[in-house]
Amino acid sequence: MAGAVSGLFLLDIKGRVLIWRDYRGDVSAVQAERFFTKLIEKEVDAESHDPVVHDNGVSYMFLQHNNVYLMAASRQNCNAASILFFLHRIVDVFKHYFEELEEESLRDNFVVVYELLDEMMDFGYPQFTEAKILSEFIKTDAYRMEVNQRPPMAVTNAVSWRSEGIRYKKNEVFLDVVESVNILVNSNGQIIRSDVVGALKMRTYLSGMPECKLGLNDRVLLEAQGRTTKGKAIDLEDIKFHQCVRLARFENDRTISFVPPDGAFDLMTYRLSTQVKPLIWVEAQIERHSKSRIEILVKARSQFKERSTATNVEIEVPVQTDATNPNIRTSLGSATYAPENDALMWKIRSFPGGKEYMLRAEFHLPSVTAEEATPERKAPIRVKFEIPYFTVSGIQVRYLKIIEKSGYQALPWVRYITMAGEYELRLI
Protein backbone atom coordinates (compact mmCIF):
# COMPACT_ATOMS: atom_id res chain seq x y z
CA MET A 1 0.00 0.00 0.00
CA ALA A 2 2.90 2.28 0.63
CA GLY A 3 3.70 4.43 -2.32
CA ALA A 4 5.35 7.69 -3.00
CA VAL A 5 5.98 10.09 -5.82
CA SER A 6 9.23 9.91 -7.77
CA GLY A 7 9.22 13.42 -9.07
CA LEU A 8 7.11 16.55 -9.29
CA PHE A 9 7.02 18.40 -12.56
CA LEU A 10 5.84 21.87 -13.44
CA LEU A 11 5.37 21.96 -17.19
CA ASP A 12 4.42 24.64 -19.64
CA ILE A 13 1.35 24.48 -21.85
CA LYS A 14 3.19 22.43 -24.44
CA GLY A 15 4.31 19.94 -21.83
CA ARG A 16 7.88 21.07 -21.51
CA VAL A 17 9.53 21.06 -18.11
CA LEU A 18 9.76 24.45 -16.41
CA ILE A 19 10.94 23.22 -13.03
CA TRP A 20 11.03 19.79 -11.54
CA ARG A 21 12.04 18.19 -8.31
CA ASP A 22 13.49 14.71 -8.31
CA TYR A 23 12.59 12.91 -5.08
CA ARG A 24 13.73 9.40 -5.81
CA GLY A 25 15.94 9.29 -8.86
CA ASP A 26 13.91 6.64 -10.64
CA VAL A 27 12.07 8.72 -13.23
CA SER A 28 14.00 10.85 -15.68
CA ALA A 29 12.78 14.28 -16.70
CA VAL A 30 13.43 13.62 -20.36
CA GLN A 31 11.36 10.47 -20.33
CA ALA A 32 8.50 12.12 -18.45
CA GLU A 33 8.54 15.15 -20.69
CA ARG A 34 8.59 13.09 -23.85
CA PHE A 35 5.65 11.02 -22.71
CA PHE A 36 3.64 13.98 -21.55
CA THR A 37 4.22 16.06 -24.67
CA LYS A 38 3.02 13.15 -26.76
CA LEU A 39 -0.01 12.75 -24.56
CA ILE A 40 -1.20 16.32 -24.83
CA GLU A 41 -0.37 16.53 -28.51
CA LYS A 42 -2.80 13.76 -29.29
CA GLU A 43 -5.78 15.88 -28.37
CA VAL A 44 -6.39 19.51 -29.00
CA ASP A 45 -8.12 19.76 -25.71
CA ALA A 46 -5.96 18.71 -22.79
CA GLU A 47 -9.07 18.36 -20.67
CA SER A 48 -10.12 15.23 -22.44
CA HIS A 49 -7.32 13.16 -20.97
CA ASP A 50 -7.75 11.00 -17.95
CA PRO A 51 -5.81 12.74 -15.18
CA VAL A 52 -4.08 9.49 -14.30
CA VAL A 53 -2.16 7.62 -16.99
CA HIS A 54 0.29 4.79 -17.02
CA ASP A 55 3.16 4.39 -19.42
CA ASN A 56 6.05 2.04 -19.33
CA GLY A 57 6.14 1.44 -15.60
CA VAL A 58 5.45 5.02 -14.57
CA SER A 59 2.13 6.52 -13.49
CA TYR A 60 1.51 10.16 -14.22
CA MET A 61 -1.03 12.20 -12.29
CA PHE A 62 -1.62 15.73 -13.43
CA LEU A 63 -3.82 18.78 -13.54
CA GLN A 64 -3.75 22.05 -15.38
CA HIS A 65 -3.82 25.51 -13.89
CA ASN A 66 -3.63 28.50 -16.23
CA ASN A 67 -0.75 27.82 -18.58
CA VAL A 68 0.96 25.36 -16.27
CA TYR A 69 0.64 21.62 -15.81
CA LEU A 70 1.40 20.16 -12.41
CA MET A 71 2.37 16.55 -12.73
CA ALA A 72 3.49 13.90 -10.29
CA ALA A 73 5.20 10.76 -11.57
CA SER A 74 5.37 7.57 -9.56
CA ARG A 75 6.65 4.05 -10.05
CA GLN A 76 4.71 2.71 -7.09
CA ASN A 77 1.11 2.13 -6.19
CA CYS A 78 0.76 5.47 -4.48
CA ASN A 79 -2.39 7.06 -3.13
CA ALA A 80 -3.73 8.77 -6.23
CA ALA A 81 -6.45 10.68 -4.40
CA SER A 82 -3.93 12.08 -1.97
CA ILE A 83 -1.43 13.05 -4.67
CA LEU A 84 -3.98 14.76 -6.89
CA PHE A 85 -5.37 16.63 -3.93
CA PHE A 86 -1.84 17.54 -2.95
CA LEU A 87 -1.29 19.00 -6.44
CA HIS A 88 -4.32 21.19 -5.91
CA ARG A 89 -2.88 22.27 -2.58
CA ILE A 90 0.37 23.20 -4.28
CA VAL A 91 -1.66 25.43 -6.56
CA ASP A 92 -3.12 27.12 -3.47
CA VAL A 93 0.30 27.59 -1.91
CA PHE A 94 1.77 29.07 -5.09
CA LYS A 95 -1.20 31.36 -5.44
CA HIS A 96 -0.67 32.54 -1.91
CA TYR A 97 2.96 33.27 -2.74
CA PHE A 98 2.79 34.69 -6.25
CA GLU A 99 -0.79 35.99 -6.47
CA GLU A 100 -1.28 33.87 -9.57
CA LEU A 101 0.25 30.58 -10.57
CA GLU A 102 1.40 30.74 -14.16
CA GLU A 103 4.45 30.05 -16.24
CA GLU A 104 5.81 33.53 -15.76
CA SER A 105 5.47 33.62 -11.99
CA LEU A 106 7.22 30.27 -11.72
CA ARG A 107 10.11 31.42 -13.85
CA ASP A 108 10.42 34.65 -11.89
CA ASN A 109 10.46 32.86 -8.55
CA PHE A 110 12.24 29.62 -9.28
CA VAL A 111 14.36 29.78 -6.13
CA VAL A 112 11.34 29.97 -3.86
CA VAL A 113 9.62 27.28 -5.90
CA TYR A 114 12.50 24.92 -5.28
CA GLU A 115 12.47 25.73 -1.58
CA LEU A 116 8.75 25.09 -1.35
CA LEU A 117 8.94 21.82 -3.24
CA ASP A 118 11.62 20.74 -0.80
CA GLU A 119 9.46 21.59 2.20
CA MET A 120 6.06 20.43 0.99
CA MET A 121 7.21 16.97 -0.02
CA ASP A 122 9.99 14.70 1.20
CA PHE A 123 11.04 11.52 -0.59
CA GLY A 124 7.76 11.71 -2.44
CA TYR A 125 5.54 11.95 0.64
CA PRO A 126 3.36 15.04 1.11
CA GLN A 127 4.51 16.90 4.21
CA PHE A 128 3.19 20.34 4.81
CA THR A 129 0.93 22.60 2.76
CA GLU A 130 -0.26 25.43 5.03
CA ALA A 131 0.67 28.44 2.95
CA LYS A 132 0.37 30.87 5.77
CA ILE A 133 2.74 28.96 8.02
CA LEU A 134 5.15 28.18 5.20
CA SER A 135 5.49 31.84 4.45
CA GLU A 136 6.78 32.40 7.95
CA PHE A 137 10.02 30.65 7.09
CA ILE A 138 10.20 30.63 3.30
CA LYS A 139 9.91 34.08 1.80
CA THR A 140 10.11 35.64 -1.61
CA ASP A 141 13.00 37.92 -2.41
CA ALA A 142 11.31 41.07 -1.25
CA TYR A 143 10.99 39.76 2.30
CA ARG A 144 14.19 37.78 2.53
CA MET A 145 15.62 39.92 5.28
CA GLU A 146 12.86 39.09 7.72
CA VAL A 147 13.29 35.38 7.32
CA ASN A 148 12.48 33.39 10.37
CA GLN A 149 15.47 31.11 10.66
CA ARG A 150 13.68 28.43 12.62
CA PRO A 151 10.77 26.21 11.72
CA PRO A 152 7.57 27.64 13.19
CA MET A 153 6.15 25.50 15.95
CA ALA A 154 3.04 25.02 13.88
CA VAL A 155 4.88 22.84 11.36
CA THR A 156 4.96 19.96 13.78
CA ASN A 157 2.29 20.99 16.22
CA ALA A 158 -1.05 19.33 16.62
CA VAL A 159 -2.37 22.77 15.67
CA SER A 160 -0.43 23.01 12.44
CA TRP A 161 -2.52 25.78 10.92
CA ARG A 162 -1.98 28.55 13.41
CA SER A 163 1.11 30.21 14.83
CA GLU A 164 1.35 31.51 18.32
CA GLY A 165 1.68 35.16 19.16
CA ILE A 166 -0.86 36.65 16.80
CA ARG A 167 -2.11 40.07 18.03
CA TYR A 168 -5.05 42.21 16.93
CA LYS A 169 -6.20 45.46 18.38
CA LYS A 170 -9.79 44.69 17.60
CA ASN A 171 -10.81 41.04 17.80
CA GLU A 172 -13.46 40.19 15.22
CA VAL A 173 -14.94 37.18 13.44
CA PHE A 174 -16.97 37.29 10.25
CA LEU A 175 -19.09 34.30 9.41
CA ASP A 176 -20.83 33.98 6.05
CA VAL A 177 -23.35 31.22 5.54
CA VAL A 178 -23.40 30.62 1.79
CA GLU A 179 -25.74 28.13 0.17
CA SER A 180 -25.37 27.15 -3.48
CA VAL A 181 -28.32 25.64 -5.28
CA ASN A 182 -27.45 23.05 -7.91
CA ILE A 183 -30.12 22.07 -10.34
CA LEU A 184 -30.39 20.07 -13.53
CA VAL A 185 -33.54 20.21 -15.65
CA ASN A 186 -33.83 17.94 -18.66
CA SER A 187 -35.23 18.81 -22.03
CA ASN A 188 -38.68 17.58 -20.99
CA GLY A 189 -38.72 20.27 -18.32
CA GLN A 190 -38.33 17.73 -15.52
CA ILE A 191 -36.11 18.52 -12.60
CA ILE A 192 -33.83 15.54 -12.54
CA ARG A 193 -31.38 16.66 -9.92
CA SER A 194 -31.35 19.28 -7.28
CA ASP A 195 -29.33 19.78 -4.16
CA VAL A 196 -27.95 22.49 -1.94
CA VAL A 197 -24.34 22.78 -0.91
CA GLY A 198 -23.72 25.06 2.02
CA ALA A 199 -20.50 26.51 3.34
CA LEU A 200 -19.66 28.40 6.51
CA LYS A 201 -16.96 30.78 5.41
CA MET A 202 -15.02 32.43 8.20
CA ARG A 203 -12.62 35.29 8.44
CA THR A 204 -11.02 35.52 11.85
CA TYR A 205 -8.98 38.38 13.22
CA LEU A 206 -8.29 37.08 16.71
CA SER A 207 -5.34 37.36 19.07
CA GLY A 208 -3.60 34.47 20.77
CA MET A 209 -4.89 30.90 20.65
CA PRO A 210 -8.68 31.30 20.79
CA GLU A 211 -10.97 28.35 21.45
CA CYS A 212 -14.15 28.65 19.44
CA LYS A 213 -17.43 26.85 19.74
CA LEU A 214 -20.19 27.08 17.19
CA GLY A 215 -23.85 26.30 17.78
CA LEU A 216 -26.25 25.56 14.90
CA ASN A 217 -29.90 24.63 14.78
CA ASP A 218 -28.82 21.06 14.08
CA ARG A 219 -31.70 18.72 14.79
CA VAL A 220 -29.49 15.88 16.04
CA LEU A 221 -27.84 18.15 18.58
CA LEU A 222 -31.00 19.84 19.76
CA GLU A 223 -32.77 16.55 20.17
CA ALA A 224 -29.83 15.14 22.07
CA GLN A 225 -30.02 18.10 24.39
CA GLY A 226 -33.72 17.49 24.80
CA ARG A 227 -34.76 20.86 23.40
CA THR A 228 -37.85 21.42 21.44
CA THR A 229 -37.21 21.54 17.75
CA LYS A 230 -40.43 22.77 16.32
CA GLY A 231 -39.76 23.72 12.77
CA LYS A 232 -36.53 25.46 13.44
CA ALA A 233 -34.08 22.61 13.45
CA ILE A 234 -32.61 21.27 10.26
CA ASP A 235 -31.04 18.03 9.05
CA LEU A 236 -27.60 18.47 7.60
CA GLU A 237 -26.22 15.73 5.43
CA ASP A 238 -22.59 15.00 4.97
CA ILE A 239 -20.94 17.72 6.95
CA LYS A 240 -17.27 18.28 6.14
CA PHE A 241 -15.01 20.17 8.48
CA HIS A 242 -11.84 22.13 8.13
CA GLN A 243 -9.01 20.21 9.73
CA CYS A 244 -9.09 22.58 12.72
CA VAL A 245 -12.40 21.11 13.94
CA ARG A 246 -12.14 18.28 16.44
CA LEU A 247 -13.88 15.50 14.56
CA ALA A 248 -13.96 13.01 17.40
CA ARG A 249 -15.63 15.56 19.62
CA PHE A 250 -18.24 16.28 17.00
CA GLU A 251 -18.86 12.57 16.60
CA ASN A 252 -19.35 12.27 20.35
CA ASP A 253 -21.63 15.15 21.19
CA ARG A 254 -22.11 17.17 17.99
CA THR A 255 -20.13 20.06 19.39
CA ILE A 256 -18.23 22.06 16.78
CA SER A 257 -15.11 23.18 18.59
CA PHE A 258 -11.87 24.42 17.09
CA VAL A 259 -8.86 26.68 17.20
CA PRO A 260 -9.28 28.67 13.97
CA PRO A 261 -6.55 29.53 11.50
CA ASP A 262 -5.79 33.21 11.12
CA GLY A 263 -7.67 34.91 8.27
CA ALA A 264 -10.07 33.36 5.77
CA PHE A 265 -11.00 29.68 5.60
CA ASP A 266 -14.00 27.39 5.10
CA LEU A 267 -15.01 26.13 8.52
CA MET A 268 -17.48 23.59 7.26
CA THR A 269 -19.50 22.50 4.28
CA TYR A 270 -22.70 20.51 4.18
CA ARG A 271 -25.13 19.19 1.66
CA LEU A 272 -28.89 18.88 1.48
CA SER A 273 -30.39 16.64 -1.15
CA THR A 274 -34.00 17.46 -0.50
CA GLN A 275 -35.80 18.48 -3.63
CA VAL A 276 -36.10 22.26 -3.85
CA LYS A 277 -38.36 24.15 -6.18
CA PRO A 278 -36.11 25.99 -8.64
CA LEU A 279 -35.78 29.53 -7.35
CA ILE A 280 -35.61 30.90 -10.84
CA TRP A 281 -37.23 29.03 -13.71
CA VAL A 282 -36.27 29.67 -17.32
CA GLU A 283 -37.84 28.50 -20.56
CA ALA A 284 -36.77 29.16 -24.11
CA GLN A 285 -38.46 28.79 -27.47
CA ILE A 286 -36.49 28.81 -30.66
CA GLU A 287 -37.95 29.59 -34.05
CA ARG A 288 -36.02 29.12 -37.27
CA HIS A 289 -37.58 31.50 -39.75
CA SER A 290 -35.25 30.57 -42.55
CA LYS A 291 -31.85 29.04 -43.05
CA SER A 292 -30.27 32.25 -41.90
CA ARG A 293 -32.73 33.89 -39.51
CA ILE A 294 -33.45 32.68 -35.99
CA GLU A 295 -35.58 34.03 -33.21
CA ILE A 296 -35.41 33.12 -29.53
CA LEU A 297 -37.97 33.82 -26.84
CA VAL A 298 -36.89 33.37 -23.22
CA LYS A 299 -39.09 33.55 -20.13
CA ALA A 300 -37.65 33.81 -16.62
CA ARG A 301 -39.78 33.43 -13.53
CA SER A 302 -38.84 33.85 -9.86
CA GLN A 303 -40.38 31.23 -7.62
CA PHE A 304 -39.45 32.50 -4.17
CA LYS A 305 -41.40 34.67 -1.76
CA GLU A 306 -42.14 38.24 -2.68
CA ARG A 307 -40.33 39.69 0.28
CA SER A 308 -36.98 38.34 -1.05
CA THR A 309 -35.16 39.71 -4.04
CA ALA A 310 -32.57 38.01 -6.20
CA THR A 311 -29.65 40.19 -7.17
CA ASN A 312 -27.05 40.00 -9.91
CA VAL A 313 -29.12 37.58 -11.93
CA GLU A 314 -27.36 36.38 -15.04
CA ILE A 315 -29.06 34.13 -17.56
CA GLU A 316 -26.87 32.64 -20.24
CA VAL A 317 -28.75 31.49 -23.34
CA PRO A 318 -26.64 29.56 -25.86
CA VAL A 319 -26.66 30.55 -29.55
CA GLN A 320 -24.87 29.31 -32.67
CA THR A 321 -21.13 29.98 -32.87
CA ASP A 322 -21.42 32.09 -35.99
CA ALA A 323 -24.44 34.18 -35.02
CA THR A 324 -24.37 37.63 -36.52
CA ASN A 325 -25.67 40.84 -35.00
CA PRO A 326 -28.19 39.60 -32.49
CA ASN A 327 -30.94 42.08 -31.91
CA ILE A 328 -32.14 41.68 -28.32
CA ARG A 329 -35.01 43.19 -26.35
CA THR A 330 -35.88 42.51 -22.74
CA SER A 331 -38.72 43.45 -20.45
CA LEU A 332 -36.25 44.02 -17.61
CA GLY A 333 -32.48 44.24 -17.32
CA SER A 334 -29.95 44.34 -20.10
CA ALA A 335 -28.87 41.66 -22.50
CA THR A 336 -25.81 41.41 -24.66
CA TYR A 337 -24.33 39.01 -27.10
CA ALA A 338 -21.25 37.34 -25.63
CA PRO A 339 -19.51 35.65 -28.54
CA GLU A 340 -16.73 34.36 -26.27
CA ASN A 341 -19.30 32.05 -24.69
CA ASP A 342 -21.47 31.62 -27.77
CA ALA A 343 -24.33 32.95 -25.74
CA LEU A 344 -26.68 35.80 -24.95
CA MET A 345 -26.08 37.16 -21.46
CA TRP A 346 -29.16 38.55 -19.83
CA LYS A 347 -28.39 40.48 -16.68
CA ILE A 348 -30.98 41.63 -14.19
CA ARG A 349 -29.62 43.51 -11.23
CA SER A 350 -32.66 43.06 -9.05
CA PHE A 351 -35.28 40.38 -9.61
CA PRO A 352 -38.11 40.46 -7.03
CA GLY A 353 -39.90 37.30 -5.95
CA GLY A 354 -42.99 36.07 -7.82
CA LYS A 355 -42.34 37.91 -11.10
CA GLU A 356 -41.86 36.94 -14.71
CA TYR A 357 -39.77 38.71 -17.39
CA MET A 358 -39.05 38.10 -21.05
CA LEU A 359 -36.25 38.34 -23.56
CA ARG A 360 -36.67 38.26 -27.31
CA ALA A 361 -33.70 37.98 -29.64
CA GLU A 362 -33.27 37.71 -33.35
CA PHE A 363 -30.09 37.05 -35.26
CA HIS A 364 -28.70 35.96 -38.61
CA LEU A 365 -26.36 33.22 -39.70
CA PRO A 366 -23.80 33.62 -42.51
CA SER A 367 -24.75 32.39 -45.97
CA VAL A 368 -21.50 30.49 -46.40
CA THR A 369 -21.38 27.59 -43.96
CA ALA A 370 -18.29 26.22 -42.32
CA GLU A 371 -16.46 23.54 -44.23
CA GLU A 372 -16.75 20.80 -41.66
CA ALA A 373 -19.68 22.01 -39.66
CA THR A 374 -19.48 20.21 -36.35
CA PRO A 375 -22.77 19.03 -34.91
CA GLU A 376 -24.40 21.79 -32.93
CA ARG A 377 -23.17 21.44 -29.37
CA LYS A 378 -26.17 21.43 -27.13
CA ALA A 379 -25.25 23.77 -24.34
CA PRO A 380 -27.81 24.24 -21.58
CA ILE A 381 -29.21 27.54 -20.34
CA ARG A 382 -27.25 28.53 -17.26
CA VAL A 383 -28.37 30.86 -14.50
CA LYS A 384 -26.53 32.75 -11.80
CA PHE A 385 -28.08 34.74 -8.97
CA GLU A 386 -27.75 35.67 -5.33
CA ILE A 387 -30.50 36.02 -2.76
CA PRO A 388 -29.26 37.80 0.38
CA TYR A 389 -30.70 37.27 3.88
CA PHE A 390 -32.08 33.93 2.82
CA THR A 391 -31.11 30.27 3.03
CA VAL A 392 -32.89 27.37 1.43
CA SER A 393 -32.11 25.06 4.31
CA GLY A 394 -33.15 27.44 7.10
CA ILE A 395 -29.81 26.96 8.83
CA GLN A 396 -29.16 29.33 11.76
CA VAL A 397 -26.08 30.14 13.74
CA ARG A 398 -27.30 30.04 17.32
CA TYR A 399 -24.06 31.14 18.89
CA LEU A 400 -20.34 31.48 18.25
CA LYS A 401 -18.38 31.49 21.48
CA ILE A 402 -14.78 32.64 21.53
CA ILE A 403 -12.66 31.99 24.57
CA GLU A 404 -9.06 33.06 24.89
CA LYS A 405 -6.98 32.96 28.01
CA SER A 406 -6.37 36.73 27.90
CA GLY A 407 -10.13 36.98 28.18
CA TYR A 408 -10.88 39.48 25.43
CA GLN A 409 -14.34 39.95 23.98
CA ALA A 410 -14.67 39.24 20.28
CA LEU A 411 -17.56 40.21 18.07
CA PRO A 412 -19.01 37.67 15.62
CA TRP A 413 -20.74 39.03 12.50
CA VAL A 414 -23.03 36.60 10.71
CA ARG A 415 -24.51 36.92 7.19
CA TYR A 416 -26.70 34.60 5.14
CA ILE A 417 -26.87 34.30 1.40
CA THR A 418 -28.16 31.86 -1.22
CA MET A 419 -26.74 31.66 -4.71
CA ALA A 420 -26.91 29.56 -7.85
CA GLY A 421 -24.33 26.81 -8.10
CA GLU A 422 -24.43 24.50 -11.10
CA TYR A 423 -27.76 25.66 -12.43
CA GLU A 424 -28.43 24.04 -15.78
CA LEU A 425 -31.62 23.85 -17.80
CA ARG A 426 -31.25 21.81 -20.97
CA LEU A 427 -32.73 23.40 -24.05
CA ILE A 428 -35.59 21.68 -25.76
Partner: protein, 161 residues
Protein backbone atom coordinates in the same frame (compact mmCIF):
# COMPACT_ATOMS: atom_id res chain seq x y z
CA UNK B 1 6.63 20.10 -55.93
CA UNK B 2 6.34 21.78 -52.57
CA UNK B 3 3.08 20.61 -51.00
CA UNK B 4 3.06 23.18 -48.24
CA UNK B 5 5.22 25.60 -46.31
CA UNK B 6 5.06 25.95 -42.54
CA UNK B 7 6.70 28.26 -40.08
CA UNK B 8 6.53 27.05 -36.53
CA UNK B 9 8.03 28.62 -33.46
CA UNK B 10 9.93 26.67 -30.86
CA UNK B 11 6.82 26.98 -28.67
CA UNK B 12 4.80 25.22 -31.33
CA UNK B 13 3.00 28.38 -32.46
CA UNK B 14 2.18 28.64 -36.12
CA UNK B 15 3.64 31.71 -37.81
CA UNK B 16 2.88 31.03 -41.46
CA UNK B 17 1.18 28.29 -43.45
CA UNK B 18 0.87 28.05 -47.19
CA UNK B 19 -0.85 25.07 -48.77
CA UNK B 20 -0.25 24.33 -52.43
CA UNK B 21 -2.47 21.24 -52.32
CA UNK B 22 -5.96 21.17 -50.86
CA UNK B 23 -6.22 20.11 -47.23
CA UNK B 24 -9.37 20.48 -45.16
CA UNK B 25 -9.17 22.61 -42.06
CA UNK B 26 -9.28 19.47 -39.95
CA UNK B 27 -6.44 17.87 -41.88
CA UNK B 28 -4.41 21.04 -41.62
CA UNK B 29 -4.70 21.04 -37.86
CA UNK B 30 -3.73 17.41 -37.78
CA UNK B 31 -0.73 17.93 -40.05
CA UNK B 32 0.45 20.84 -37.95
CA UNK B 33 0.14 18.91 -34.74
CA UNK B 34 1.81 15.84 -36.12
CA UNK B 35 4.71 17.65 -37.72
CA UNK B 36 5.42 20.10 -34.97
CA UNK B 37 5.51 17.13 -32.62
CA UNK B 38 8.04 15.33 -34.74
CA UNK B 39 10.19 18.26 -35.78
CA UNK B 40 10.41 20.18 -32.51
CA UNK B 41 11.47 16.99 -30.77
CA UNK B 42 14.43 16.38 -33.05
CA UNK B 43 17.89 17.06 -31.74
CA UNK B 44 20.13 19.70 -33.24
CA UNK B 45 22.66 17.41 -34.87
CA UNK B 46 20.22 15.21 -36.75
CA UNK B 47 19.60 15.64 -40.45
CA UNK B 48 17.09 18.21 -41.65
CA UNK B 49 14.73 15.73 -43.26
CA UNK B 50 11.79 13.87 -41.89
CA UNK B 51 9.89 11.20 -43.77
CA UNK B 52 6.22 11.79 -43.33
CA UNK B 53 3.35 9.90 -44.91
CA UNK B 54 4.30 9.58 -48.56
CA UNK B 55 6.25 12.83 -48.48
CA UNK B 56 9.36 14.32 -46.98
CA UNK B 57 9.58 17.39 -44.87
CA UNK B 58 12.70 19.50 -45.09
CA UNK B 59 13.09 21.84 -42.16
CA UNK B 60 15.66 24.26 -40.89
CA UNK B 61 15.82 26.01 -37.60
CA UNK B 62 16.70 29.68 -37.34
CA UNK B 63 16.94 30.57 -33.65
CA UNK B 64 13.39 30.19 -32.36
CA UNK B 65 11.77 29.48 -35.74
CA UNK B 66 11.47 26.33 -37.78
CA UNK B 67 10.97 26.75 -41.52
CA UNK B 68 9.46 23.61 -42.97
CA UNK B 69 8.67 22.61 -46.54
CA UNK B 70 6.92 19.42 -47.44
CA UNK B 71 8.08 17.93 -50.74
CA UNK B 72 7.58 14.89 -52.96
CA UNK B 73 9.69 11.76 -52.55
CA UNK B 74 11.90 12.47 -55.55
CA UNK B 75 12.51 16.16 -54.97
CA UNK B 76 15.98 17.39 -54.13
CA UNK B 77 16.14 17.75 -50.34
CA UNK B 78 19.37 19.71 -50.40
CA UNK B 79 17.97 22.19 -52.87
CA UNK B 80 14.93 22.76 -50.70
CA UNK B 81 17.27 23.67 -47.86
CA UNK B 82 18.68 26.33 -50.18
CA UNK B 83 15.19 27.55 -51.03
CA UNK B 84 14.42 27.92 -47.34
CA UNK B 85 17.59 29.87 -46.85
CA UNK B 86 16.85 31.96 -49.92
CA UNK B 87 13.48 32.87 -48.38
CA UNK B 88 15.09 33.68 -45.04
CA UNK B 89 17.66 35.95 -46.64
CA UNK B 90 14.99 37.85 -48.50
CA UNK B 91 12.99 38.27 -45.31
CA UNK B 92 16.10 39.43 -43.54
CA UNK B 93 16.80 42.06 -46.13
CA UNK B 94 13.23 43.24 -46.31
CA UNK B 95 12.77 43.65 -42.57
CA UNK B 96 16.38 44.52 -41.83
CA UNK B 97 17.62 41.86 -39.43
CA UNK B 98 14.40 39.98 -39.27
CA UNK B 99 13.11 38.62 -35.96
CA UNK B 100 10.13 36.51 -35.00
CA UNK B 101 8.07 39.54 -34.01
CA UNK B 102 8.40 41.00 -37.51
CA UNK B 103 6.79 37.89 -38.87
CA UNK B 104 4.02 37.97 -36.31
CA UNK B 105 2.92 41.54 -36.76
CA UNK B 106 3.63 41.69 -40.48
CA UNK B 107 2.60 38.20 -41.36
CA UNK B 108 0.94 39.44 -44.55
CA UNK B 109 4.25 40.87 -45.74
CA UNK B 110 5.87 37.49 -45.27
CA UNK B 111 3.12 35.99 -47.42
CA UNK B 112 3.63 38.62 -50.13
CA UNK B 113 7.30 37.74 -50.23
CA UNK B 114 6.59 34.03 -50.36
CA UNK B 115 4.21 34.64 -53.26
CA UNK B 116 7.04 36.25 -55.22
CA UNK B 117 9.21 33.24 -54.49
CA UNK B 118 6.89 30.29 -55.04
CA UNK B 119 3.80 29.69 -57.13
CA UNK B 120 2.01 26.35 -57.46
CA UNK B 121 4.63 24.93 -55.13
CA UNK B 122 7.45 25.63 -57.60
CA UNK B 123 10.34 28.07 -57.50
CA UNK B 124 9.66 31.34 -59.25
CA UNK B 125 12.72 33.47 -58.82
CA UNK B 126 16.34 32.82 -57.94
CA UNK B 127 17.37 36.43 -57.55
CA UNK B 128 16.88 37.99 -54.14
CA UNK B 129 17.28 41.41 -55.70
CA UNK B 130 14.44 40.88 -58.13
CA UNK B 131 12.10 39.75 -55.38
CA UNK B 132 13.02 42.77 -53.28
CA UNK B 133 12.43 45.08 -56.23
CA UNK B 134 9.02 43.62 -57.01
CA UNK B 135 7.88 43.84 -53.41
CA UNK B 136 9.13 47.41 -53.10
CA UNK B 137 7.28 48.41 -56.25
CA UNK B 138 4.02 46.96 -54.97
CA UNK B 139 4.50 48.47 -51.51
CA UNK B 140 4.93 51.86 -53.08
CA UNK B 141 1.77 51.37 -55.15
CA UNK B 142 -0.05 50.84 -51.87
CA UNK B 143 1.59 53.89 -50.30
CA UNK B 144 0.62 56.08 -53.22
CA UNK B 145 -2.96 54.90 -53.04
CA UNK B 146 -3.05 55.63 -49.33
CA UNK B 147 -1.69 59.13 -49.82
CA UNK B 148 -4.23 59.81 -52.50
CA UNK B 149 -7.01 58.54 -50.29
CA UNK B 150 -5.94 60.69 -47.39
CA UNK B 151 -5.57 63.79 -49.55
CA UNK B 152 -9.02 63.20 -50.94
CA UNK B 153 -10.47 62.81 -47.48
CA UNK B 154 -8.59 65.96 -46.52
CA UNK B 155 -10.14 67.76 -49.42
CA UNK B 156 -13.55 66.53 -48.45
CA UNK B 157 -12.91 67.56 -44.90
CA UNK B 158 -11.82 70.99 -46.09
CA UNK B 159 -14.82 71.34 -48.32
CA UNK B 160 -17.33 70.38 -45.65
CA UNK B 161 -15.85 72.49 -42.93
Amino acid sequence: MIQFVLLISRQGKVRLTKWYSPYTQKERTKVLRELSGVILARGPKLCNFVEWREYKVVYKRYASLYFCMCIDQDDNELEVLEIIHHFVEILDRYFGSVCELDLIFNFHKAYYILDELLIAGELQESSKKTVARLIAAQDSLVETAKEQASSISNMIAQATK
